[in-house]
C-alpha cells in the first residue's frame, strides 16, 4: 500500500469517538462599518506604523508624486507594467526630467535576472485593493506585473484606489469572490520587508524592498 493510502486509511478508521465541530460564527471578524474616509485613515495609520509611506493623490497628480519620491531618492530607473494604465500613463510622461528611466518587465526572468537583482532601483505596480484593518495591499501578480516586480527592487511603489479599500480580509475575500479561482500567486503586502531576528531589533529591507510607498488615488 502506498504512503497515501496508509495515511488516509488510518485517518478514516479512527479509533476515537465521532468528531463533531460546532458551526463557525465569523461575525467576530466583522469590524465596524467604516466610511471610505475612515478606511483610508485606518489604512494609512497602520501601514505607517510599520514604516510604509502613504501619499494621497488624485488621478491627475499621482505621476508628480512618483517623480517626487524617486528624485528624492535619486533612483536611476523605474520598472513599470507594459499594459496596465499605470505603465501607459507613465510612458506618456517619459520625457519629464524628474522621472527616471522607465524599464519594462517583458522578458522571462531567466534572461535578465542579474540586471533585475543588481541594477533596478524601483518598481511600480497596481493593486487589487487594500485592507484597512491590517494596512495591507492586495496584489495578484500577472504576466504584465510579474511577482518579482514587488519584491526585488529596493523601492516598491503601489497604486491603490481609495474606493477599493476593504475593512477586513474576510470582507475582501467575499467581495472579490476569491474562491471562484485563485491566481498563480496572490499576496497581501503590509509594509517593507523587515526582520527582528537580531535581538528583537527591527531592520528593514532584509530580503525584499527597503521602502514601500503607497499612492492612494482618491
Amino acid at each position: 500500500m502506498s504512503a497515501r493510502d496508509i495515511i488516509l486509511q488510518r485517518l478514516r478508521n479512527r479509533t476515537g469517538g465521532d468528531l463533531v465541530a460546532p458551526a463557525s460564527d465569523f461575525s467576530v471578524l466583522e469590524r465596524p462599518d467604516w466610511s471610505t474616509e475612515e478606511r483610508i485613515e485606518r489604512f494609512e495609520k497602520i501601514i505607517e506604523s510599520v514604516h510604509g509611506e502613504v501619499h494621497r493623490c488624485t488621478r491627475d497628480n499621482w505621476i508628480d508624486h512618483v517623480a517626487e519620491v524617486l528624485s528624492a531618492r535619486k533612483a536611476r530607473n523605474l520598472l513599470i507594467p507594459s499594459q496596465h494604465q499605470i505603465g501607459q500613463d507613465l510612458r506618456a510622461h517619459a520625457e519629464r526630467d524628474d522621472l527616471p528611466n522607465l524599464l519594462i518587465y517583458d522578458e522571462p526572468i531567466e534572461s535578465w535576472q542579474p540586471a533585475l537583482f543588481n541594477d533596478v532601483d524601483a518598481g511600480i505596480t497596481s493593486t487589487r485593493g487594500g485592507i484597512a484593518e491590517t494596512g495591507s495591499l492586495i496584489l495578484w501578480p500577472t504576466a504584465d506585473e510579474p511577482r518579482l516586480m514587488s519584491l526585488v527592487p529596493p523601492i516598491h511603489i503601489a497604486v491603490l484606489e481609495a474606493s477599493q479599500i476593504y475593512t477586513t480580509l474576510y470582507e475582501a475575500l467575499d467581495a472579490q469572490n476569491w474562491k471562484a479561482g485563485m491566481p498563480t500567486n496572490a499576496l497581501l503586502i503590509s509594509g517593507p520587508s523587515k526582520t527582528a531576528d537580531i535581538e528583537q531589533t527591527l531592520a528593514y529591507g532584509v530580503h525584499g524592498p527597503k521602502e514601500l510607498i503607497v499612492l492612494i488615488i482618491e
Binding site: 518579482l148 535581538e199 529591507g205
Partner: protein, 477 residues
Amino acid sequence: MSATTPHPHIDVKEFHPRAHEALHNPQIRQNFRKAMDGLMSKRKAAFEGWDLETLRELGANVRLRALANLPDLLEQLEQKLTENGIKVHWALDGDEACRIVRDICVAREAKSVIKGKSMVSEEMELNHFLEGEGIEALESDLGEYIVQLANETPSHIIMPAIHKNTGEISELMHEKTGTDLSHDVEYLTAAARQQLREKFMNADVGVSGVNFAVAETGTLCLVENEGNGRMTTTVPPCHIAVTGIEKVVPNLADVSALLALLTRSATGQHITTYFNMISSPRKADELDGPEEVHLVLVDNGRSVIYQDDELLDTLRCIRCGACMNHCPVYTRVGGHTYGTTYPGPIGKILMPHLIGLDEGRHLPSASSLCGACGEVCPVKIPIPDLLVRLRRESVDGDKLHPAKVRGHGAKRTPLEAAIWKFWSWMHSRPGIYRTGTRFASRFRKLQPARAGAWTDFRTAPKLAGKTLHQQLRERGK
C-alpha cells in the same frame, strides 16, 4: 562561506543537566527574559479592541472542523492542487519525506537548495539529510541563517536565534562570513541580504513550509516578514513545499480567522509583511515563478495522535509560539534545554507523541502547571490537561488507560511505586493508620532535614507533635 548543517546529537533525556546549566547562564536568561517580556506585552496590545475570547472560540472551531473532516479535506486538497498543476507527494515519516525531496532534486540535477523557514523540515532533519546526499541546503530566514552558521538548531519556533544577542551574532557573522565586527543591526542585516541574494539567484530548488493549505482552492499560504519566503518560492525554477498533514483547512474564510490569531499571538503584529498564497506553478504566459511546484504531505506520527480524542487537540496547533513566550519555564531555561524540535509547552505535549515517553519522559514534568500556556493559546488547546495526562501515563504502571503514546510507564520507579502502594494500604486500614501516624509524630525528631532537590530552596516541613486525630479529640473534650 560554509553551510554546515546543524545536527547536534542532543540526548532528550538529559533535560535536567541542561536546565541546570541554562539557569546558571546569565546571558541566556537575560536574552530570553528580555525577548519574552516584549512579546507578551506586544501580544496583549495587538488584541486590544477585539473580542478575544470569541475569536479564540472561532479559531478552535475552525481547526476542529478541519480535523473532523481531515481525510476528505486532504483528498480535496490533493485533487485541487493537481488540477492547478502542483504535484502532491505523501510521506509516512521524516525519512520518507527527505527521500521524496532528494528524488525531486536528483531528477532536476539540483546541487543547491535554498530554504525558507519550516518546522516540519527541522522535524525531518532535512538539511542534514541533503548534505549527506551531496546537496547544499542553505537557510534563508535571517534567524535560521544565523542558527545554521552557528551549527545549532532553532531555540524558538518563530524566532530561531532569540537565544543570541547582537554581540554574539556579530562575532559569528564575522568569523563565518567575514563581515566587520559591528553592533549595527542595519549593517549586519544588509550584509546577510547581500550574501543571500547571490544564493537565491543560483539555487536550483527552493524549499518552504506551509502555514495553511486551503482545500477549496488548492492554495498554499505562507506567513512571513522578510521576503525570503517569497524569494524561495519564486526565484528558483523548482519549489518544494513541505507540511504536516494537519495544516489543511476547508476554506479561504477559515484562513482569515486563523491569520488574525496567528500573527497577533506570535509577535503582536496585526499581520506580517507578506502573506503569500501560491496556487500553481508559472503559467505559459507568465515571466517569473517556478516551473515546477511540489507539496510533500508529512504524517510522521500525526495519524497516530489523530486516533485519540484527547491528544487530537494537539493537532489544532497553528505554531504561533505564544505558549512558549508566556511559559515561566521556557523563559528561564530557553529552547535548547528541551533538546527537541518543538520546545516549550507545545513541545512538551507534541514531542512525546513523536519520540515516545521513554525518550521524552522529562518533558511533561518541565512545567509549573500554572496554566498560562492554555490561557494564551489562540486555538484553545488544553495544554495543562494534556500535560497532566502525559505525566500520569509516564508513571502509570497499572496500564488501566491503554496508552497511545509510546513509553507508557517509562518514568515509573520501583521505590516510588512501593511508597505509594504502602501509602494506599495504610490509608485503607484505620487501626494501622492511627498507629502509624502516632508513631511518626512521636519520632519526628528522626525526620531528615533535607528531602533531595526539593529542600535546596525550601525548608522541609516538620511533622506536628500530635496527629490531627489526637488534636481533635483533645479539643472535643
